[in-house]
Symmetry: D2
Amino acid sequence: MGAAERRSVLEAIKRFTIETPSWGYGDSGTRFKVFHWPGAARNLREKLADAALVHRLTGVCPRVAIHIPWDKEDDWEAVKAYAAGLGVRIGAVNPNLFQDEEYRFGSLCHPDPAVRRRAVQHVLECIQIARAVDSDTISLWLADGTNYPGQDDLRARKHRLEETLAEIYAALAPGMRLLIEYKFFEPAFYHTDLADWGMAYTLARKLGPQARVLVDTGHHPQGTNLAHIVAFLLDEEILGGFHFNDRRYADDDLIVGSQHPFELFLVFNELVAAASQPQAPRIDYMIDQSHNIEPKIEAMIQSVLHIQSAYARALLVDRQRLSQAQAAGDVLGAYRVLRDAFETDVRPLLAQAREEMGLDPDPIAAFRRSGYADEVARTRPASRSGASGYPGA
Amino acid sequence: MGAAERRSVLEAIKRFTIETPSWGYGDSGTRFKVFHWPGAARNLREKLADAALVHRLTGVCPRVAIHIPWDKEDDWEAVKAYAAGLGVRIGAVNPNLFQDEEYRFGSLCHPDPAVRRRAVQHVLECIQIARAVDSDTISLWLADGTNYPGQDDLRARKHRLEETLAEIYAALAPGMRLLIEYKFFEPAFYHTDLADWGMAYTLARKLGPQARVLVDTGHHPQGTNLAHIVAFLLDEEILGGFHFNDRRYADDDLIVGSQHPFELFLVFNELVAAASQPQAPRIDYMIDQSHNIEPKIEAMIQSVLHIQSAYARALLVDRQRLSQAQAAGDVLGAYRVLRDAFETDVRPLLAQAREEMGLDPDPIAAFRRSGYADEVARTRPASRSGASGYPGA
Amino acid sequence: MGAAERRSVLEAIKRFTIETPSWGYGDSGTRFKVFHWPGAARNLREKLADAALVHRLTGVCPRVAIHIPWDKEDDWEAVKAYAAGLGVRIGAVNPNLFQDEEYRFGSLCHPDPAVRRRAVQHVLECIQIARAVDSDTISLWLADGTNYPGQDDLRARKHRLEETLAEIYAALAPGMRLLIEYKFFEPAFYHTDLADWGMAYTLARKLGPQARVLVDTGHHPQGTNLAHIVAFLLDEEILGGFHFNDRRYADDDLIVGSQHPFELFLVFNELVAAASQPQAPRIDYMIDQSHNIEPKIEAMIQSVLHIQSAYARALLVDRQRLSQAQAAGDVLGAYRVLRDAFETDVRPLLAQAREEMGLDPDPIAAFRRSGYADEVARTRPASRSGASGYPGA
Amino acid sequence: MGAAERRSVLEAIKRFTIETPSWGYGDSGTRFKVFHWPGAARNLREKLADAALVHRLTGVCPRVAIHIPWDKEDDWEAVKAYAAGLGVRIGAVNPNLFQDEEYRFGSLCHPDPAVRRRAVQHVLECIQIARAVDSDTISLWLADGTNYPGQDDLRARKHRLEETLAEIYAALAPGMRLLIEYKFFEPAFYHTDLADWGMAYTLARKLGPQARVLVDTGHHPQGTNLAHIVAFLLDEEILGGFHFNDRRYADDDLIVGSQHPFELFLVFNELVAAASQPQAPRIDYMIDQSHNIEPKIEAMIQSVLHIQSAYARALLVDRQRLSQAQAAGDVLGAYRVLRDAFETDVRPLLAQAREEMGLDPDPIAAFRRSGYADEVARTRPASRSGASGYPGA
């Protein structure tokens, strides 16, 4: 790698930002148990404080996604100011369409128009909140689905969803993006109304250019080639962003890149390749994880490091050599171009980028030294017990 | 089917009993939400009352599995008397090794001897409870595992498990059975200490003849041939029982037979074939489900009907014709022997068996007519809100 | 079921036709071995003769799909006349884009324009053959994909595919349909260029109204809800047809309905529900199986019986009662409407339909009695040995 | 890493040997097509020549596994001498129990005693061949299974297998090892007689100490934690060896480590941890792949590099620091110990080891420079066409 190329890689690393989720700083768990972590954030202010620390340590996490109503506050101007004071700002606003008693059989797809109305109103409220906090992104995950064959009419549910989404889309502010997430299963176990990228794509296309597909890396059947889906959506110019996490089995919501680092690299390989095109699309890189047994803040920093590691390696791919090998039908030669980049130890490169940004080259070590964990463990008593798997439950 | 054979099938159906789980009568849910069902049982007495109703309606559910500490009471003699008054008795006692804060990193496999001690003590207490309620079965599910590579030493955990299980085994009352369950994943997401039947089998063999393997039908990787595992364990004379439920994706805990009725039939086909042998082993047939959106009691009756339906069809298999076709290498002829039994509508047969038992031929209709659902909805106000996925959480 | 309803069901069963594949009558196998079946058809004439027998026995299989070049002949007029003499006609024409040495790295997506040209020419030839045999259907399965990350540029391959498909589409005769199949994996093992329904859908939409999506029931990840995909494609008015088969693991190409009969019923439940709409689309029901160890003709008849069984049960679903239960949020009541239809033994109904058509009520028994199997075993000596998994190899 | 530690790692790398398979040097493919590779080896002599080249280039592949009858020769003394002259020797002898017409319904589990006899005789012949070539290893993969429910009696098949294996075991030479492989599915699609490690383990235990379990890395359900199974078998002192390959979907038989390099590292992490014990067991590291589209020899060298890369990283794990973090319940700290080793670029280390062995530091480059590929492409005309997926077919 020549000096100019190294410089270019360093600058790209420094420019690349990641959005962290407010809910990743609080306690969460499985259906069996929520283990409390000493000092876990209990409200939006504490979550923003933790997120701001992650940003100070990594330099690349200026935005924090919020979840309504978990993070709901009365005075959004005050929230904005508070966040700004910490050096961060609000990113995507995530409606919650799964925790009301009314949502037993769904929200936007529910058979009862009154429940659909309630769900639409909630998303409209989130759009208002987004406006209030200067966010331009609504990130929509639908827990809708059924548990038994025949429980509801699958096509009727699709029609209801098309209607309610159209109403939501119409209410978007100009320039605001609606990111539509899909998920293979859970919490519904027979069918999920938006089960795969094809369904999210079809609905986004019908809605219009402000609608985009959101890829959650843990929401696919086993074996799915994620890099291929990303390449396809990029080529269709409809990829809006990511919810990053990792898994071995189902939607395990583990630290991104902790189980399949090569897969994460291959996803970034597609993103970097597409980014070199003239009209590279805006992609939002967001973490969405459930830190069940890990220290929350450290888990978040670790996630950022994994993403940066995958991105840096993807930047190192020798694309000219790759194209030549591909054109020559040199299967293993082409593979080795990727593999070479993956084998490279990019920790020195990332450390240099951080130092150039005035940061500690090792954010985990800096965090451990900071005393922050002990302090919040002392100053934030556990707010509840017997809690369920998700913060708002 | 001749009259003698029909009589034999009817008598087998009438003799075949199913154990229902106390926790299946209470509210439960996913990590995202527990939806409250009006009238859901809130304590052991109510659960026993509901279970007794299921037994009165179906005639085949005389035992109720309990979960400690969810169902813990001070006076077990009183519980026994109460159950007996309702016409049921306590079945398997299920320890809970996943809901204490101490169990963040496991219970019987935990790195800390003090936590392992706590876990062993809890199981020993369950053995005492089993004695007190005249139960001869401890049903052990271990939620132990890790979420990240390296988190703990896999072989050290195995050693700890062998030690703690040996201590538990030594404390079993004479004739008491220890049923060892395995699970592919969840709530641990990197590895599960008892991940498959082979691990449960290996440990049960080391412990001795009172240890048996428990098959939970939802705890396997996709595609796994359950009937084959059952046949293998039967042949090894180490199958102890079942936790019945169904799933499409992960461990969905849906109503047994609701997603893959043919698979359930194939499992029973192996059980019926093996039962004709001179020394047929004791197998405990237990339901273990999580009724997230369904009415609890109706879901339990439906489950019983599905099991009876699978069992009745398996009884109809013409085993002589099957053997002949198998010996002749008649692949499709042999397959059709099973298929013929499966295609048969066994509802009239089951209705006749119920009538011979003095029951309503349609337990669901009888339940709906009974007014019980309305009554408990009125008399059992919701005991909690914002609850998590599992009753004790 | 009233008499009028029963009559309506019987007439529907008699009208419902299934296309059988020429390749299902010949030897096929796995990568490990092709077992020769005595009397297996060795050329198009013999395949048509066998298919005609299946039609004579079942009354519902008037069309035979062909595969080019496996079934290539010089005089298509003669083929047409021969088929007509047997009482059948040619159905879908299936190009072969995977068995030329040139296709090592793909066909329509190959990096080399010359190979793409060759592939396009082959499909254009198939369009000519379709015209010659009065078929209006091209059924396109693409084996294209890669085995290693980096082997080729995923987006470039998509562009090539869009180009070559556009050229093919432009050459379709008026009213001719291009059915685009997708497959999760195999024979490519890193990525498949048309990996899921979403990719087939996207390309079909771009091509125009003569392009439709073909669902092969064995080409999905584990757990996939097939009925949901079918409902979605029906609602989008882009479902063109099926390749029926069954599997437990990968694309096992076993007899349709032999592993998951309930799933097949649920697919037909969606089809029957949609068929009651004013503008029901044309759907081609085709079998696509690999009979590795089974007698070929008997396997085909068995497949037809399974499809009819699933279809008949779907016709029995009480849709009014279903809608009412769904509207009432009666999860288990709605489920039982489907389950009741599934539990019904439809063999008498199918036997009656056959008798009304002048057929033997038991086509398998009639086939076994006919002596046809012995005759072809005698008159058709094995044409080759050491053959590979697919007929043309 | 200190100098002493580095030295120790280098010596371990130099000592670590890998067995390559004769069949990996010939043409192979899928059920759809075998693509011929110019110069692919056509017989045992050519395979040994290619394997010897791989050994000369890598320095760590002194043994070549053979497959009977694919590699059968009349004069095994001559084969031994020929191999010795090339600097290699014969490793495991692999019987073939899947390519005779008689094996349609199985081999060692076949319902017909005459077929079982044939299969046993073949394995006994392989034992004789092993003696003749001074090999002490029989590597047994069983393709036995069924395609349809009911096709055969699952327990009867188990009994037959126990009988035939006992006969084989009794015929082993003293010190000879019988490695028993298992496979989730394929070529059987309903059930596989040895479907998982638990079945292989159970039978190996019954046979005696010369029987060991062979882990083929591609023979597991999706999501399976391979490192855990390896740790369990190591702890049970019954792991005999590996068949290395990689896959995304089914048993894809791709280059080991090419899809999931982190998983391969985690497997080696368990092996290295166990190797430090006093009585480290003998483990045979063997490659078993199907090079469908790749250049055969280059694919084999690439495989060796991947294995060495995973092994080297596992050697770098700081086991003291790991234990400390594990004991402290420091989930992410422990994880990072593994991750740090994995992030390390071990190419320089491997290059140094090769140079110390007098080899080119880059075996792929050396191979490409050697002209060997061109030469064999010229001197080895294709021996057959229209071939099937496996060399002997």
